[in-house]
Amino acid sequence: MSIQTPDAPTALPPAEPPKKAKTGRRSIFLRRPFFTIALIVAAGYVLAAIFAPYVAPYDPVMQDINAMMQAPSMAHLLGTDSYGQDILSRVIYGARYALIIGIFSVLIGAAGGLVIGLAAGLSGGWLEWALMRLIDSILALPSLILAVAFIAILGQGVDKVVVAVGLSMIGPFARTVRADVMQVRVQLFVEAATLMSIPYLKVIWRHVLPNVIFPLAVQVTIRISEAILVSSSLSFLGIGVTPPTPDWGLMIAEGRAFVSFAAWMSAMPGFALALLLIALSIVGDGIREEFDPKLRRGA
């Protein structure tokens, strides 16, 4: 996976030593039991996603007219849906789609945010002003609404959802990248470097990027859950992933009509989604509290 490991602070230049020295403190896993449990749950989802073909008892898109809308039983542990598809298998495969969409769209958002944020932070004058207003404008639209707008242009499908959700997340990433760049820019060593007429790109590469990448990586891990939520929301609205893809949002939407007599159809994928989101948000909180020095700036 392309998630940055927490080892990244070693990439910091010596001018800014890591905020937390590794003095004999207890391991993060012992200090934060909830974090550890949440991490195990999240890892379980990742494993289920990777080994879905081996774990799932049925083909997730296999329809069985003889087993339509069956309540959970030994044959179908989580029941079947209105097409007779096995919900457990669909939930397991759903993890695959959720994680793939979540991770890739966040990466798109982070890449876009990095470019715009760097440009806004390093340029000056009217260009900076214009880029800032652009960021403001993107932030003026909630990510789901933005994603809906992009879907309107792009159309539906897994790849389209990844792009739409990714583009919709550029705003917050750009804002944090710019804030980080501004901080680095004030620090003396960058000014000194520019004074010594080192090529501009080299300054960015050597001094600015290392200071921006680590907080960005933290942001990426934190925002995966947001991306998953937005993408499953799109599917729930019926404008994201198309059937019969085993997507949780889609499954919840399909089950909605039958909630009065087949509540499990929505509930099972729903709990899979909710549990993953809660686990990811606990993991995200833990990572932020451990690694984000700016957390103390305010709520």
């Binding site: 404008s137 609404i145 009065s260 509540a263």
Partner: protein, 316 residues
């Protein structure tokens, strides 16, 4: 103070301008030829050209934008060919009131439940109550609202039969009926905000309660309920309003989902059906309205600071 306010308003207008250019560009980027869609499957080249000229689509981009912007401001938003109505009337008079009603209901729920919960957590810091509230708050911020909505429908409407399953009744026409129909959607949408406000209230109030003026208020013989609610809570108003303004986007996008769950004919439903019907003009209208709301409310939040915190008012 007024100079600052004018600056804020100017900045807001610029952002609105950028959003409008982008949402106009959206229309241009959309696949398919709008003229073709409007004319249907059979048309002559003449009709095509005349309609192109009539709609000004042969003009350069900026001229087209200016033309569009003028008409947009005048309320001429075009016609929805699926709903066969004027988009402005549909969006503004039918969809927007529904969304605003839902949003304000949820906001009221969130404040009425979240603030007391946060205050109690802060006062009972590090007790079982506090821990319980923290777990609820964490779950509340992470739980997908549309799933919660379905669960609420299942439990309160289907099993208990306490509330209607779905549908919208305008509280302007039937006040109690409106409220009755808004309770489940309002609760669904506000859960995230209840959780967020609880967390924020707890954190900021704990900080405020350590300020010397709190000890001073106690030293004057003020009973603890007054110390907390009059001296403490008054001073968390500003961070609270700030966060509510910034999180308004979450509220607006939440309405989209909640409207779908409960079948409320608001902007969310308008947007979703417009995407499915490829009605770009309606999508554009929805995007513009959402952005304007968000930007407008945040402008109001900015302008409200001097009223919330006297220290930001000019010295006499």
């Amino acid at each position: 103070m007024w100079g600052q306010a004018l600056g804020k308003i100017a900045q807001t207008l610029v952002v609105l301008f950028v959003v409008s250019v982008a949402s106009f560009g959206l229309l241009k980027l959309a696949p398919g030829d709008p003229i073709q869609i409007m004319l249907g499957s059979e048309f002559s080249q003449e009709a095509y050209d005349s309609l192109t000229a009539e709609l000004g689509l042969d003009q350069p981009f900026l001229a087209q934008y200016a033309d569009w912007a003028v008409r947009f401001v005048q309320g001429d938003w075009g016609t929805s060919y699926v709903a066969r109505t004027d988009i402005f009337t549909y969006a503004f008079k039918e969809a927007l009131p529904v969304t605003l009603t839902l949003a304000s209901f949820s906001l009221a729920f969130a404040i009425l439940i979240g603030v007391p919960l946060g205050v109690l957590s802060a006062v009972k810091k590090d007790t079982a109550f506090d821990a319980g509230a923290a777990v609820l708050a964490l779950t509340g911020t992470a739980f997908p609202s549309f799933l919660l909505g379905i669960l609420l429908i299942w439990f309160f409407a289907v099993k208990m039969q306490l509330f209607p399953v779905m549908g919208y009744v305008s509280p302007w026409q039937d006040f109690w009926g409106g409220i009755y129909h808004m309770i489940l959607p309002g609760l669904t949408l506000s859960t995230y905000f209840i959780a967020m406000i609880t967390r924020l209230t707890r954190a900021t109030l704990i900080e405020v309660m350590e300020q010397p003026y709190i000890a001073a208020a106690r030293a004057r013989g003020e009973p603890s309920w007054r110390v907390i609610w009059v001296h403490g809570v008054r001073n968390i108003a500003m961070p609270l309003v700030t966060i509510l303004g910034l999180q308004l986007g979450v509220l607006l996008q939440g309405t989209v989902l909640t409207e779908t769950v409960f079948n409320l004919p608001g902007i969310g439903q308008m947007l979703t059906s417009a995407v499915l019907g490829r009605e770009y003009m309606v999508v554009q209208a929805g995007v513009m309205m959402t952005a304007t709301l968000f930007i407008g409310v945040n402008l109001l939040v900015d302008l409200s600071y001097p009223f919330l915190d006297p220290r930001l008012r000019a010295r006499k």
